[in-house]
Every structure is written in structure tokens, then in C-alpha cells.
Amino acid sequence: MMFDRFRRNRNNVVNGTDQGKAQVKGSNDILKELDQFEKLSFSSHGEILGNRVATLHGDFTDELGGTSAFRGNVSLTAQNVKAIIDNPPVLDEYQNAVDVCPTAAIKNLLGPGNKDPTSEGIFDTGKCILCGRCQDIAPNLFKIKNYPALAVKRKSELLSSLGGEPQLDGGKEVYSTLGEDLKCKIGKILGRSLAIREVDAGSCNGCEVEITALNNPIYDIERFGVHFVASPRHADVLLVTGPASRNMEIALRMTHEATPDPKIVIAVGACACSGGIFGDTYATTGGIDNVVPVDVYIPGCPPRPAALLYGLLLAVDRLKPNIRKEK
């Protein structure tokens, strides 16, 4: 990967204290084994090379999808809705998952008026919080993939009929390639960098952690011409998180008004797309689009940085017609 310019053996580097060892009695063999491993493996050390670039190499994944452990998009194995409804054991399993899902992301097929086998869109990626409970209870029907659900431009596209196979081959897309695409597009459409204002409308701060990560040296989104600005007045894009709590509703509206046209609003995370786990209650509004018009929805809880970048890619597309209209 891009940072892997200089691999260094850890033995070349000043060692920190090794306090781990003193602790455990009776597991000497294991410690020995671990030490063996440690010696064999290259360190993922960053080093400080005077005034030169810091180098590192690590267990980062540059792919859009996560590591194999990542709990990402949910996919349904059934062929179609009919296959579920006509098969009582499968339907039972399916309904168990409906019961266990904390956000009603899986449509209740037995609810009034829901038994229409032609009705599509039984799984709402915008509501899913990636908890994996459906797979736990109905392992034959639901599979958690290790790539994220991707951003969409219309809310209806969040409803996937069966499983939400990604539009892109999520596992193989590479963050830096996507970023280069983004950079090209921004250059063509704006002729300058893209300015983003982040607004937290009641998030749990999980989404903020991931948005902040976009700015770290690993994802380093500024290299693609994307810049986080301090005021909505300087922004092209509002990146909004949270279920739009009622206490933030007015502030969100005002921020939206303060943003000059043409502007794009991106709803980030399950909360912003649909209310997520916080739903639609006395204290929330059940999604950003109940307060301001939304152009792009990025599902996930939280969406990983690469998924955020993909959402920006879609958003920039949306800026194009707007600008033409202006002219």
C-alpha cells in the first residue's frame, strides 16, 4: 500500500518497555511462542526521519470493503419474496429475524397488507445498524457481508428487494482509486476543492469518529481536493449525522439556510437516513430528510471512511446539474 515505502524491522528501532511479560505466570510457552512471532513479523513502525516523511506500513486495508471480520451489508439468500412466503419453515425463520431486528430494517411479511409477493424492497439498508442479529437467528437466510452498503441518491434505492448486492464490487474497489476519481470529478465540475461542513444533528458520535478519520494521514481526504470548512457559509456540501434530534432541528434548518446554493446535503449513517436505532420519537424527527432535503444517503452504523468517500463521489455528481442551472 501507499505508505509501504520503507519496511523496517522492529529491531532497528528503539524499544519501548516490555511490561507485558512480567504479568503472567504459568503461560511461559505462550509467551515464547508470541515472542517468536514478534521476531518474525515485520513491524508496522512509523519512524521519524528527521524532517522527512514519516513512513509506515501496517494492517490497514485500502479496499473499500473491510477486513474479513468486518460486519457490513446484509444480504438475503432467498431468490425472491415468493420463495420466502411459500415455504413455511423459511417464512418462520424470516419472521424470527423480523422480531429480533432492532430497527425494523427487515419488512414484516405477515403484517397487514404486506403479504403481497410482488412487493419488493423488503430490506431497508438505511435502517440497518449492522448488528448481525438477523444472521445469528436465521443463518440460512441472512448473510452479513464484509463490504459496506453503499450510498444512494434516492431514499427508495435504500430499500433493496433482496439482499442489496452492492452496485460496485465492494470488496475490490480501492479507496485511493475512488479518491482519484473523486478528485477528477471535483476538478471538472468545480475547478477548485470541494468544501464540506459537518453538522451533528444528534448522532451518538460514532459517525463523527469515522468522519474525523477521513482527515487522518491514512485516509487523508484533503489529497483528493476535499476540505472540511468551519462555516456553512463556505460549504458546498453539508454532511449531516444523527436522527435530527428535536433540539437540533432549528439549528440544522438555520445551517442549511446559511449554506449558499448550489448545495448538497448528505445524510450520514443509519440515524440520518431513517432515525436508525433512535427511530422517530418525541425527541427525534426520524431522519434528516424530515428537516432538510437530502441528496445522498450513506447507510451504515457508522459508515466506514471508504463508504463516506463513495457517498461524496455520488454527491459531486449531483452538483453538476445544479451549477448548469445557475449559469
Binding site: R10, N15, G16, T17, Q19, G20, Q23, V24, I30, L34, F37, S43, S44, G46, A54, G58, D59, F60, G66, T67, A69, P102, L130, C131, G132, D200, A201, G202, S203, C204, N205, G206, E208, V209, E210, A213, N215, N216, P217, I218, Y219, F228, A230, G242, P243, S245, R246, N247, M248, I250, A251, T255, F278, G279, T281, Y282, A283, T284, P302, R304
Partner: protein, 587 residues
């Protein structure tokens, strides 16, 4: 084998029942003497909760100040619950910790508020115009840190704290109508109350020559959560700061009453996204105490491991943020790389970069494979080496250290009065750490830090504590130390996990818990002590009441004190050094 012996021994030592019993005895005689016939009874619940029932709410201030004076007790939280459906009134529970007298004991002072006559008349249909007001005596004069709890109760339950000088709206902002009380049982979760423009929020007004106000927020300049800060300044000096929070109030406590237990678990992870393990752990432990579930050893180890990973990545993130706020981008970049590496490890261990989904009621959801364990062990070593290297560089930069030293001072007295927890308290010379005070999970068998393992170290530590000034630099130092400790703990846990051949990850989950039983769950997040009080609902599979008090709730008021000797540009640094969660406060 050896390890599991240790576990057994320590599990027993965990709650030193002798100390508890003697405290109950002492407490009982003491309180009985002090309050004569005012107590209704004293009861020991869940092994370390002493519940004292007061006969009348009038004796609340007396009982609370007695606890404070005689036992040096600290108000840990205040719980209100609407138990009118259970044939009681509103019930107030004041939770105290009296560490000086007995470690690992929580004292609950419980009092029932009786409905006023007017409300009964209203129920009978006598629509009198008289506004019913149920009130309870405020304890802010005795215990200043109660002020926010009382304002919260006033907003959410409509119970007036009589004698509290500040009854401005807290949780529900001024646009909410005065008669909406979300946590009362008759209030429906989905109610969309109409906005009013009748109420107004008054900030403290500071007037004088050359004094002006700077309003900041709720939408801030950085990528952070929303909150409003009102500075009164003279020149650049901050004369007063008033914080206004609750912009992210999402109704978590009410929502939990409408969910199943397993769903509340997912909700608890999202109280504050970066604190997911600590909060879900506290929640699970509360239920495990109610159901007396024996969490398998492997699960205990994995939980603790994740809790420590959470501490590491957040502390590193905070240190990076402090480096940014003093304008030292290089240090921030280097530390952010390490944070990213930690988050990538988080994902490999739990499937989520924020460690979501690890805890289950009675155990954990994911095992740690041998390969991942080895990877963790090795990566953490290199991360730690690199971390200490970067920190040593930061320490040699006077532009960093000078900004941190004597900035954002929290004095010991302030820390005591506000009952601070976590890093903020430890930096002001108060030795609190839930992992040591109320050992839970695997902590009884771990060496949490190197200060409490021998009497000599304890003495040394208390001397060192006296020297701490509670400035941003001490918070920097303590975080660095804790990262080192946590990584040592994780590596220790990894070897134990590799040693441990057992497979079981969760205790069998009872189909339901005893209705209306209740317990306190606690954990030490990277911000400090987080307390979750749960009362099981009528069907045994839901919650009647879920009260959450995160460390942020306790520590937020400290910032108003911390900035008083500083200039405005120091505020972001002070804020970051305290690392408070808005969402965890607002719920």
C-alpha cells in the same frame, strides 16, 4: 489452570462481604440514631447495594448530608422513576459511594413522593384550575453536584426541586411546552409535542466596562458534537463560561422502556459511540446481577480486552486532538495514525471499528481466534513503541508543553464539590477508578496500574497525587500512562486467552428476569465511571426504567470552572483535554 484458580479466589474476594456487613451495621445504627424513626428499613441487595428507605421525602436533605458528613460519601447519581403503576408514587433514589468507609459499596437513599391531592382531584374529573405541583426538597445546599440531576428530574418528570435556585429547563429546551414530561408513564414515546415560543432561556448576565459575550455553537467549527457555549470575556480573558447542552437529546431512557432487553443492549452501545464497550458492559452487568448469571471466564476476558482497547484508541485520539489544538500538526498526524491502527484492530477483533456488538447479556458475541490474538499481541507492541516515541518527541517541544502547563486547571476542591470521575478527577489528585474501587469483569485478577499493587506504591502514588495540579498537562500525562497500562493489560489478557481452552462465550440466558427487580451496573470508560441502573419491566423481558449516568454528565460542569483563568483561544484545548461526550451527556 492456575489462572482459573486465581479467578475463583478473586471472585470471592471481589465483594468483601465482611466490610459490607460491618458497613450495614454501622450505617444502620448511625442512621437510625440520626434520623430516629424516619427510616423505613435498610436492605442489602445485589451484594453491594445498601438500600435505605426513608419514610418521608422531607428527610431527604437530612439523610444525604448525614451520609456526606459521616461517611465522606459522594453523590454518584440520582434516579427518579415513575412507579405510580406499581402502587407507589414517584420514587427518588440517591446513590452514594463511601469509598473512605468501605470500598465497593453503593448506598441508595430511597424516598417515595406522594401525589398531591390536586392531581387526584383532576383524575376524578374535577377540572380545577389549580396547577398541581409535586415537589421534593432539594439537596443542592448540602451537595452542590445535585443541581443538574434535580433540573433533569424537573424537566423529565415534572417534579419541582423545592429550594433549588436554578430550575431553568435543561434537557428539554425552551421551545418545549412546560407540561410535557417525557419520562412519566402516561407520556407516549411517539408524542410530537408542539413547539411554543413562550419560554425563554436566561444565561447568566455579566455586565461591566468592556465585557462582552461570545456565543459559540451549537454548530461548531470542527467535526464535533453540538453544544452551546456562552463566554463572557474582557479582552481575551474568560470571566465566565456557561454551557448549554442537550442538543443531541434522543430520548434514550424513554426509548429503552419501549424496547426488548436485547435491543436495549444495542441502544446502550450507541449512548456514546466511542464508549460503546463501557456502556454496554455496565448495562449487561446490571442485568447479570439481577439474574445472577455466571459469565464464563473466556467471555470475561474478552470483554475486558475490548474495554481496554476502547480506552487505548480513545486516549490516543484525545492526545492527538490536544496536539492539534496546540497547533502541533505533526504530533497529531502521528498519533492519528496509531488511532487508525487501533480502530483497524478493533474491527479485526469485533467486526466493528468502534467495537460495537461485543457484549451480550451474560457474555460476549464474538470469540477471539488464535490468529487475531497473536496479531493483537504483536501489533500492540509496535503501536506502544511508536506511541512512546511520539510522546517523547512531544515532550521535548516547548511549544506543546508550555501550552499545556497550567492551562485549564481544575482544583481539588472543585473536583470534590462536583464529584468528578475519571481522568479529570485523577488529575486533580482524587484517586478514583471504578476498575479498582468496584472491581468488575476481569479486573479483580489484573494489575490495573502500578500504583495499587503494594502499600509502598500506594503511598508513593498518594504523594504524587497531591502534587497534581489538574491542568491540561497532567491530563496529558495521565492519559499517556493509561495507554501504557491498558496495552500491558491487553497483552496480558491475550496470553490468558491463548492459555484458556474453554469455549463457552455466554451464560445461558434466562427467558425472563424477575419483574421489577433492579440493579446497578457500572464500568470505567475512558472518560470515567459510567453507571446504569435498570429496573426490569412487567414481562421480565423489557425495562421499566433505565437510568444512565455517564462520566460526561458528571464532568461537564468542570469545564466552566477549568477555563476561568484562561483566554478564549485556550478553550478548545481545555475542552479536548477533558474529552467529554455530548451524546453521552444528553442521552
Amino acid at each position: 489452570m492456575e489462572v482459573s484458580h486465581e479467578v475463583e479466589a478473586l471472585k470471592q474476594a471481589d465483594i468483601s462481604s465482611a466490610a459490607t456487613t460491618s458497613l450495614v451495621a454501622k450505617f444502620q445504627t448511625g442512621l437510625l440514631a440520626a434520623l430516629a424513626k424516619k427510616t423505613g428499613g435498610i436492605e442489602l441487595l445485589n451484594e453491594n447495594e445498601i438500600h435505605v428507605e426513608l419514610q418521608s421525602s422531607d428527610s431527604i436533605p437530612e439523610a444525604c448530608s448525614y451520609l456526606k458528613q459521616e461517611f465522606q460519601a459522594r453523590l454518584a447519581m440520582m434516579i427518579c422513576s415513575d412507579e405510580r403503576q406499581l402502587g407507589r408514587g414517584f420514587v427518588l433514589r440517591y446513590v452514594f459511594e463511601a469509598k473512605a468507609e468501605a470500598r465497593n459499596v453503593f448506598i441508595f437513599v430511597t424516598s417515595e413522593l406522594v401525589e398531591s391531592r390536586n392531581e387526584k382531584e383532576e383524575k376524578d374529573g374535577n377540572n380545577s384550575d389549580v396547577k398541581h405541583i409535586i415537589s421534593f426538597p432539594s439537596i443542592v445546599l448540602q451537595i452542590p453536584s445535585a443541581v443538574l440531576y434535580e433540573r433533569e428530574v424537573n424537566d423529565m418528570f415534572g417534579l419541582l426541586p423545592a429550594g433549588n435556585p436554578d430550575t431553568r429547563p435543561l434537557v428539554l429546551h425552551e421551545q418545549w411546552p412546560a407540561e410535557a414530561f417525557p419520562l412519566r408513564k402516561e407520556f407516549d414515546l411517539g408524542t410530537k409535542v408542539k413547539r411554543t415560543l413562550q419560554r425563554e432561556y436566561k444565561f447568566t448576565n455579566i455586565e461591566g466596562d468592556g465585557i462582552c459575550e461570545i456565543p459559540v455553537g451549537p454548530v461548531h467549527a470542527g467535526i464535533i458534537e453540538p453544544g452551546h457555549f456562552r463566554f463572557s470575556i474582557q479582552g481575551e480573558n474568560i470571566l465566565n463560561l456557561e454551557t448549554r447542552l442537550y442538543y443531541t437529546h434522543k430520548g434514550i431512557e424513554k426509548l429503552a422502556e419501549n424496547m426488548k432487553l436485547d435491543q436495549v443492549l444495542l441502544l446502550s452501545e450507541r449512548i456514546s459511540g466511542d464508549e460503546s464497550v463501557a456502556n454496554s458492559l455496565a448495562y449487561c452487568q446490571a442485568l447479570e446481577r439481577i439474574g445472577r448469571l455466571q459469565v464464563p471466564e473466556r467471555a470475561v476476558l474478552i470483554r475486558t480486552l475490548c474495554a481496554e482497547m476502547e480506552r487505548v484508541y480513545n486516549h490516543i485520539g484525545t492526545l492527538a486532538g490536544m496536539s492539534t489544538d496546540v497547533g502541533f500538526a505533526y504530533g497529531a498526524a502521528r498519533l492519528n495514525i496509531l488511532k487508525e491502527r487501533m480502530m483497524s484492530l478493533n474491527e479485526q477483533v469485533t467486526g466493528s471499528r468502534l467495537l460495537f456488538g461485543i457484549n451480550r447479556i451474560g457474555g460476549v458475541g464474538t470469540d477471539l481466534s488464535k490468529d487475531t490474538a497473536r496479531l493483537l499481541y504483536i501489533s500492540l507492541k509496535t503501536i506502544l513503541d511508536d506511541f512512546n516515541l511520539v510522546i517523547s518527541h512531544l515532550r521535548t517541544k516547548s511549544s506543546v508543553i508550555d501550552r499545556l502547563r497550567y492551562t485549564g486547571i481544575i482544583s481539588r476542591q472543585v473536583a470534590i464539590d462536583l464529584g468528578l470521575v475519571g481522568v479529570a478527577a485523577r488529575c486533580a489528585g482524587i484517586d478514583v477508578d471504578t476498575r479498582l474501587d468496584n472491581p468488575y469483569s476481569a479486573y479483580p485478577m489484573l494489575k490495573v496500574d502500578s500504583h495499587h499493587d503494594s502499600p509502598q506504591h500506594s503511598t508513593q502514588y498518594s504523594v504524587e497525587m497531591q502534587k497534581r495540579v489538574g491542568d491540561a498537562l497532567s491530563r496529558f500525562d495521565v492519559r499517556v500512562e493509561e495507554v501504557n497500562d491498558s496495552i500491558r493489560i491487553i497483552r496480558d489478557l491475550v496470553t490468558r486467552l491463548l492459555d484458556d481452552g474453554s469455549k463457552s462465550l455466554a451464560a445461558p440466558r434466562p427467558s425472563s428476569f424477575e419483574p421489577y427487580s433492579h440493579a446497578l451496573g457500572y464500568a470505567e470508560s475512558h472518560r470515567g465511571q459510567t453507571l446504569h441502573w435498570v429496573m426490569v419491566g412487567s414481562d421480565g423481558n423489557s425495562l421499566y426504567r433505565y437510568k444512565v449516568r455517564t462520566a460526561s454528565f458528571v464532568n461537564w460542569p468542570a469545564i466552566e470552572q477549568a477555563v476561568l483563568n484562561d483566554i478564549v483561544p485556550d478553550f478548545p484545548l481545555v475542552n479536548k483535554s477533558l474529552d467529554l461526550s455530548y451524546s453521552g451527556n444528553d442521552l
